[in-house]
């Protein structure tokens, strides 16, 4: 994260960089009233504002679908790129290769990620490309009017009454298996948790993956759906209560040993997880996968930071690239000399 410390003397109603919340807003949403995606949009705006991200350094990326329209609705001072269906991960990878100073946020949907885009999604996670990847998961294809997606739960009912007979893909479990080091599941109707997690993700090095249940009010909010507001509210179980302490604030130690887990993020921020009744350790891969499997069996909707590992290098570090953005390196840096060409030619004679 390339943000600089600012003196805490910024005027009121601005963040540490002096930007107001309005600087993080976008165009008006054209999604259905009450869409979960709009709630997530607000949470992104709030998190980026509170963290203090330079808007011009953000790249907003998406594929195709309702979810993928949303980057137009936040951070209008950032460049955005709405690409092709399911292929946002490759665009994001290219963007970050070209300019590692950027902060990439990708918004996808369950169809865009778990069906058409599965291949690219998997390889993004495997590479650990630094970016926030949000799946606005409603279990249904909205723009094409209500077909099941691959994350629809087995036995859930479509608006037309059809029952889903295929098992759901658990993107969180898959992400952990593939080496993603920041995996969370949340609910569009739980802004507090989402904002804390997003801010933490801004301090993470590598891909942070968000599976956010985001109900589709038009095609998947009925009785029998497992992705409706009512179902999510009734079934949500928080793994922990999450609080976030940014790197630019003091930590006040006021917790009892054993009650909370404190994880320091790559940017120096801390995420503090107050344990619910289960003794859950989000730094244990085995624990995380086990919990997810049990949840699936018992139809629990578990939210929170499911897995975190701050020790793994991201893709750009592995490539041994220089720190300056490759995109804007001057000709003298990227064009070898005439003597170099002469040497190569001599070798070929």
């Amino acid at each position: 994260m390339s943000t600089t410390m600012q003196p805490p003397s910024a005027p009121k109603n601005t963040n540490r960089l002096g930007y107001s919340m309005a600087d993080y807003k976008g165009a008006d949403s054209t999604l259905c009233a009450g869409c979960g995606h709009d709630a997530i949009t607000s949470q992104i705006i709030k998190a980026f504002y509170e963290y203090g991200v330079e808007p011009h350094l953000v790249a907003k990326l998406s594929g195709i679908g309702c979810s993928s329209k949303t980057p137009a609705y936040f951070l209008s001072r950032s460049h955005g790129f709405n690409g092709v269906h399911g292929r946002m991960p490759s665009i994001a990878t290219g963007v970050m290769l070209a300019n590692r100073k950027l902060v990439s946020i990708g918004v996808s949907g369950d169809g865009d990620t778990a069906s058409i885009g599965m291949g690219q999604f998997i390889h993004l996670l495997r590479r650990n490309v630094p970016m926030i990847y949000i799946i606005e998961n409603n279990g249904v294809y909205g723009l094409t009017k209500g077909q099941f997606s691959a994350t629809a739960d087995y036995g859930s009912k479509a608006k037309s009454g059809t029952l889903n007979e295929l098992p759901a893909i658990d993107v969180c479990a898959m992400a952990i298996e593939l080496g993603c080091n920041f995996v969370c599941r949340s609910f569009a109707g739980d802004p507090k948790q989402m904002v804390a997690l997003l801010k933490a993700a801004l301090g993470h090095q590598g891909t942070s993956m968000f599976d956010v249940i985001s109900p589709c009010v038009t095609f998947n909010n009925h009785e029998g759906s497992t992705k409706s507001y009512k179902y999510a509210k009734d079934h949500e179980e928080m793994l922990h209560e999450i609080s976030y302490v940014p790197f630019f604030e003091q930590i006040n130690v006021d917790y009892k040993e054993g009650e909370t887990t404190d994880v320091q993020l790559h940017d120096g921020s801390h995420i503090r997880l107050r344990k619910a009744d289960k003794g859950y350790d989000p730094t244990s891969k085995a624990d995380a996968l086990d919990t997810l499997r049990k949840c699936q069996e018992s139809n629990e909707f578990l939210t929170g930071l499911i897995y975190i590992n701050e020790q793994k290098p991201d893709f750009l570090s592995l490539l041994n690239m220089m720190d300056a953005p490759l995109a804007t390196l001057p000709q003298e840096t990227v064009q070898p000399s005439a003597d170099d060409l002469k040497e190569i030619m001599a070798e070929l004679m």
């Binding site: 953000v58 290769l97 300019n99 070898p336």
Partner: protein, 608 residues
């Protein structure tokens, strides 16, 4: 006529072709390179072509080396000197030869039983290699160097040049150099003691036609072009025959593109498939990097959707298509020029693209370089269409010239520009050339940002389904394509005195054409002009060509006459009747004799 002279049996100096028939995976590549290089070092123009299977080990492969004093380096159909090492194909290889040709072969194959009209030279390769080393794996490899020694003696190749070529080939591997030198000597000695050299009509004699020249394959040449163009992001997926382009790039970049702290000034990523490869290249191009990918036909098919996005959202990148034989998997290790239409019109909807058409390794370098300027100037994917023959075979060339011009980074607005302008519209045609201005992510100015999308958009890059916005934008894209015509590498036109007809060709077909022009002139006294197309879109010279000549033969290596179809679309109706077509599409590189015969036959049928 040329053939008659050969049949007379007099010495034929510096004009012959050697074919080495072996199985792939047997390690004959190094030996063949040594053979080719030693002829090259004697100053004799030479070319080498590897005809190999899509397989790792055990299937037939043929390497042909053509030496030609006049500098003709296209494939020559006829084989003069066969080295038969593959029991599977040996009989057929021998049966295919014209009379009075020469055969060196493993003596246990008893090939002399099949023909009485050839000069046979049996060599006990297995036995000779056993004398060099007890290691059976090495013995197989050394047998290859033994035949180089035999051939060297029979063709009078300078032994010193052979040793030098060998040392270069195994550079830095002292043990390999020593072993192979021994094998070379064993072959030479055996031939000297057992064979009557006067039965071989072909001879190498020192010339001075290759001094200062280099030998390189097209993919390496293209990689060098990219490196000197300052490519920073290369993303690719392995596919024959393009893999060696990005692999060569990686090797060169490690030597020449590290900064003073040992960090790379580039990123090369092997993607999970071609979709991801081109997606990454576009993402990088959008963010301002000089980006590229390389692939072959099947990869192009997969990239189509993204290429349309690149065209419509106006994102620079460079895509190399090293073409092979389609459709489908086709013949992955054979050559063709059959991706032309799928490149020009790549992707659904109304799209058309710029395609550069290198014919030589020199042009692979120049156009590989030029493509990046064009991509950024026109903010669009630029295709460079090479082919397997050019990309994977070794070609003689003048050394590449260092590009001295400043990079053209195109219309990119800086913070200072934006301060002056106050605002900008991403897709507005400010200069009347159809090319809009862009900003890069990370530009620190409130007016810098815009939203890129593959859906309908207006000048401000805002989502729009309005018919007028859509049409306005599509017409501007058309204008941009028209502007591109004057920036394209221009065609090379050679008007022949008294010619009534002309060839139109591109890419590697060039080498067969220039040799055919010479044949037509010498054998038929038929002057033919030649228009070598170097890029698409066409320039205005095309129409002039058709006005000037009675008939224009479009010569290309595909079944359907794909370039002919594009020419037809470009011409006014009254000139379309002047198009003729010559097509070669067996997967083997086109040769001059084929072109000559086709043209002569076609001309006989013409009324005037």
């Amino acid at each position: 006529m040329e053939e008659d002279q050969r049949a007379r049996g007099g010495p034929i100096i510096n004009d012959f072709s050697i074919q080495v028939a072996t199985v792939n995976g047997s390690g004959s590549q190094s030996s063949n390179t040594v053979l080719m290089r030693s002829i090259f070092q004697m100053g004799i123009p030479v070319s080498g072509k590897n005809l190999f299977p899509s397989n790792i080990a055990g299937l037939p492969t043929w390497f042909t080396i053509r030496a030609n004093k006049d500098g003709w380096i296209a494939r020559r159909k006829e084989i003069d000197f066969l080295v038969a090492m593959n029991p599977e194909t040996a009989r057929e290889d021998v049966m295919n030869l014209d009379p009075n040709r020469v055969v060196v072969y493993e003596e246990t194959l008893k090939l002399n039983q099949y023909r009485k009209d050839l000069a046979f030279f049996p060599v006990p390769f297995a036995k000779l290699s056993t004398e060099i080393t007890p290691d059976s794996r090495l013995r197989k490899l050394l047998a290859n160097m033994i035949y180089v020694g035999v051939v060297g003696h029979l063709l009078e190749i300078d032994p010193a040049e052979m040793e030098q070529a060998l040392t270069k080939q195994f550079k830095g591997k002292a043990k390999a150099v020593a072993l192979n030198k021994t094998a070379l000597e064993v072959g030479r000695k055996y031939a000297k003691e057992n064979f009557d050299k006067s039965l071989v009509p072909y001879r190498c004699e020192r010339m001075n036609a290759t001094k200062g020249k280099i030998i390189i394959d097209g993919n390496s040449a293209a990689a060098l072009g990219c490196m000197f163009a300052g490519v920073t992001v290369a993303t690719w997926y392995p596919i024959t025959p393009s893999s060696s382009l990005c692999e060569a790039l990686g090797d060169y970049m490690k030597d020449y593109r590290m900064d003073e702290n040992g960090k790379s000034t580039f990123a090369i990523v092997q993607a999970e498939d071609e979709l991801a490869a081109v997606g990454m290249a576009l993402g990088a191009g959008w963010a301002g990097a000089r980006s590229m990918t390389s692939t072959a036909g099947p990869g192009i098919s997969l990239m189509q959707e993204f290429v349309g996005l690149g065209y419509y959202a106006e994102i620079p990148t460079v895509i190399f298509d090293i073409t092979r034989v389609g459709p489908s998997t086709g013949l992955p290790t054979r050559t063709q020029q059959s991706d032309i239409l799928s490149l020009v019109y790549c992707s659904h909807g109304d799209t058309k693209h710029i395609v550069l058409l290198p014919a030589s390794v020199g042009e692979c370098f120049d156009m590989g370089y030029e493509a990046f300027d064009l991509a950024e100037r026109f903010q669009t994917p630029i295709f460079v269409m090479s082919d397997l023959d050019l990309g994977m075979n070794n070609w003689m060339s003048d050394p590449f010239k260092y590009p001295t011009k400043k990079f053209d980074r195109g219309k990119v607005l800086s913070v200072e520009d934006l301060k002056k302008l106050g605002s900008f519209q991403r897709y507005a045609d400010v200069d009347g050339d159809g090319i809009p201005y862009r900003t890069l992510p990370g530009t620190n100015h409130p007016a810098a940002s815009y939203f890129t999308r593959g859906s309908g958009h207006n000048e401000k890059a805002v989502y729009s389904e309005r018919p007028d916005d859509y049409k306005h934008n599509m017409d501007r894209l058309n204008r941009k394509y028209d502007t591109a015509r004057q920036y394209m590498p221009q065609p090379e036109i050679a008007h022949a005195d008294g010619a009534k007809i002309a060839f139109l060709a591109f890419g590697t077909t060039h080498w067969a054409i220039i040799e055919s022009l010479d044949q037509l002139n010498r054998e038929y006294k038929l002057p033919v002009s030649y228009y070598r197309l170097r890029a698409l879109p066409f320039t205005k010279d095309l129409v002039e060509l058709f006005r000037r000549y009675d008939r224009v033969y479009v010569v290309e290596q595909n079944r359907d006459g794909q370039m002919e179809a594009l020419v037809k679309l470009e011409l006014p109706a009254e000139l379309v009747g002047k198009i003729r077509s010559i097509r070669h599409y067996s997967g083997i590189p086109i040769d001059a004799r084929f072109v000559t015969d086709e043209l002569v036959a076609a001309e006989k049928g013409e009324k005037n």
